[in-house]
Subunit: 426 residues, 2 copies
Amino acid sequence: MAAGLHHVVVIGAGFGGIAVTRGLERAPVRVTLVDANNFHTFQPLLYQVATAGLDVADVAHPLRNIFPGRRRARVKVVVGQVTSIDTGAKTVGLHDGRCIGYDTLVLAAGAVTADFGVAGVVEHAHPLKSIDDAVALRLHLLRQFERADASSAFEAGALDVVVSGGGPTGVEMAGGIAELYSMVLRDDFPHLPVDAARIVLVEPQARVLAPFHPDSSAHATDRLRKMGVAVRTGVWIAEVRPDGVTLSDGARILAGTVVWAAGVRANPVAEQLGVELGRGGRIPVAPDLTVIGLPDVFAIGDIAAVTDAEGSPLPQVAQPAIQGGRHVARQIGRRLAGAATQPFRYVDKGAMATIGRHSAVTELPNGRRLDGFVGWLAWLGLHLVYLMGFRNRLSVFVNWCWSYLTYDRANRLLSRHDLDERREVP
Amino acid sequence: MAAGLHHVVVIGAGFGGIAVTRGLERAPVRVTLVDANNFHTFQPLLYQVATAGLDVADVAHPLRNIFPGRRRARVKVVVGQVTSIDTGAKTVGLHDGRCIGYDTLVLAAGAVTADFGVAGVVEHAHPLKSIDDAVALRLHLLRQFERADASSAFEAGALDVVVSGGGPTGVEMAGGIAELYSMVLRDDFPHLPVDAARIVLVEPQARVLAPFHPDSSAHATDRLRKMGVAVRTGVWIAEVRPDGVTLSDGARILAGTVVWAAGVRANPVAEQLGVELGRGGRIPVAPDLTVIGLPDVFAIGDIAAVTDAEGSPLPQVAQPAIQGGRHVARQIGRRLAGAATQPFRYVDKGAMATIGRHSAVTELPNGRRLDGFVGWLAWLGLHLVYLMGFRNRLSVFVNWCWSYLTYDRANRLLSRHDLDERREVP
């Protein structure tokens, strides 16, 4: 490690943090990449971990070997939680007292689940932002079935699920759970009324996938209904209770599982910068993605308030983070070479959401839409290409092929410890 | 479920319990298979889960789809812990108050780790009998590295490992950890003195793999030493402390990790039978494998005190359990047909142990031995064939090929929760 080199500290090893670190591989800098986990999470496939289709190791990649060989010598991975940032002294403080000085800081810490003040979300709903979330949700779903199977009196709603939020995550979760129920758990638990279990998707706006074209929303709604998902639009969840939810129209839905995919806010580490934050706690940035008033600090991805040419906020998905990371790496290189920074230009590459087996909606930037099976093939290929690391691609491909051919899900394991509810991840 | 059919209750879904249940597929009986987990564990490969080579889902198979289609209708899987057996009323009681009546009972609950009264084993050592054990050990090993990487003062012995017990499990663990260190963690943590880390295998008898031919033991010792494992024979562990072990000769070894592969005893559920138990808490059985004095109860595998033709106890590995399970299924069928039971005859199919990459010792029943690479290929093939479920075979094969080609281990993931030592599995 060449201590004299310009030192870039990157907070967060999501799509943005990995992109900026990779982009700096050949720059005359050393990079410290800080994350609370020792792995990168491929968030778009978390819902498949939650629905027992994929292993944890399929959607996570160890950080310490993303940068192999000699390149790794200039990238240091630090596993720890950032608890403070001192932009005057130019240091980052970790939970265990470690302190890291920086020349340039890149905030790429992403987003966390937002409960929007709805009572009971933290206590009773399952978010889906991390691997721990996905595993906790999977164990909870399986535990509901094992408990129902073990009890003589069947509890109403025990197997029912409410998914809050009809964005891509909510649509994918509802579809994934419907498939898990109809293709796997119905056979596994012949004595339980699995066919009668209700899966309800609740979306406050007038249609699911609201940012997509209305035809995509209609296609998704149609597919979900055919899979047995009840789609409720124009209502929202007013309260989450231990046994279900209360909707904004006063209706109560009994449900043993509530999935909270209703929205996110910026990672609260943003507050450490001491600048006034924008909507959703996002960090205001200049056109070159430096934080307003802090030229040595960049912010990218879900933690930054970046807008497109029309002034609309960028979607909180992988592409803005990846493109932002590459942009910031280039700007750091330009500055070191004495050049001025350039403004960030986001290139829309489209949007997609999968609705169970064989179906997805894909919207290309030219306005073309791919629905159904073709959209699903596009979704499949794109996610395989972007999955980090060849090993993960191979294993995901094997798992997918297996699930596709057999309608099976391998990862539905519950140990005696998992069955103990006191150990349920809060 | 035909309630009038003869009801066989099988306790334990290990190799023995699965074999007896499969053997009864075509018999005029209904079977209830009881296990604390909802999956079968392929115990011979647990050490690869512990050393980050395999996923949990590779060595575990969901019980509810082992018996697919119509056959499943007569097999009921019950997930629960057996806390009582009433051989008078012919019932089995579970931890949650459920009570299951039986016509014939098969005890196949296997073995648990025995500490042989050594102080500190329960508190400070890692056993390797279950998936939870293997995952806890893996997380502990990775955590030791992350902690050492995070601290400025390197703690002596933090990365060192003592493996207690030079049987197949201990030999495989020591070899697996040595490979994990030299092929993966050394590259992941360039700032840590990984090459200086000591891995010590402690075996009380005069040689490791004592039940094998002395040439096999010599080969294993030689291979382990070449991999950097210190093999200590003729001494045993007198005490396990938070920072290491004290040997029987008074020597102290500092070690951040102690693996307890020193031995097992029968699952304590055996005590519920109310019969006098044999050595290691094993259940005394008649030649037909019925429990002495309880003709409606069979015991197979590690929980039963079965001897071979020479009167020696059978090895506590998969083969005696599988063969015992098949035998018991046949005897239940014979009884229902009005025939007398037959004595169990164990067919020795040999023994094997792998010592890291490219090497294993395999002993065939004809006395032939395969060492080194040929032995390793035999080991590889046999374990793939016996791995339950095609999906697991495929995934294990992919993982193995990947590890083989790249020296990589995919499953070295630690989440922020895993890093929190308070959550360490006790």
